[in-house]
């Protein structure tokens, strides 16, 4: 039972390069989220989706784009990476949204931008 799978787990980019992080969940969840986690700070929401074909901005969306073409996949893109985007990125999914359902997290993708 895979749950939430993120790829890649590690990546090093140079400033200005682009990349895509892939999140896949096998629990048939409607809600999917991308968070970033930085030392000393709580998880912060970048973008989220409440269903296939939908996306919305979270707390810190600048510099990121997302797509949810299939229900099980949620992609996070960085068009022109900046050192400030060095972070650990977590994808999460939920079947009932934030008020009644807990989040299921992937194991994270550690991104370093030089």
């Amino acid at each position: 039972n895979a749950g939430v799978t993120q790829t890649p787990k590690f990546r090093v980019l140079k400033t200005g390069q682009s990349m895509t992080l892939l999140c896949a969940q096998d629990m048939n969840h409607e809600y999917m989220y991308w968070y970033r986690q930085d030392p000393g700070m709580g998880l912060r929401l970048i973008h989220y989706s409440v269903g296939e074909g939908t996306t919305a901005k979270g707390e810190v969306p600048d510099g990121y784009n997302v797509s949810r073409l299939k229900k099980q996949n949620f992609l996070l893109g960085l068009e022109s990476a900046a050192p400030s985007q060095t972070s650990v990125y977590f994808c999460a999914s939920s079947d009932r949204g934030p008020w009644t359902g807990e989040l299921f997290f992937g194991e994270g993708s550690r991104l370093t931008v030089l």
């Binding site: 939430v4 809600y31 989220y33 000393g40 700070m41 709580g42 998880l43 912060r44 929401l45 989220y48 409440v50 919305a56 979270g58 707390e59 977590f90 999460a92 949204g97 934030p98 008020w99 009644t100 807990e102 989040l103 299921f104 997290f105 992937g106 194991e107 994270g108």
Partner: protein
Amino acid sequence: EDQVTQSPEALRLQEGESSSLNCSYTVSGLRGLFWYRQDPGKGPEFLFTLYSAGEEKEKERLKATLTKKESFLHITAPKPEDSATYLCAVPEARGGQNFVFGPGTRLSVLP
């Protein structure tokens, strides 16, 4: 502004030494408070949800309680395998999809 703070930032306990972690929040109209455990290099793992003041939930050596302003995670007779970072989170007040997460308490239990 919705805010969640946790204390202490780090806690070292001897095996068997009970203690409590604190999560304070300033969110109007609380719609639930969530506790997660995060192991190094892993994603957070759900522990508990509390919905109303006075509510308590237990799981093995952990017990979570909730008041109108804060939540406590009590750890009774901890073992080294309880070492992890414990996060709390609340749904944001304005009804969006966001959780407001605290920075976490890093717990180390020494044998």
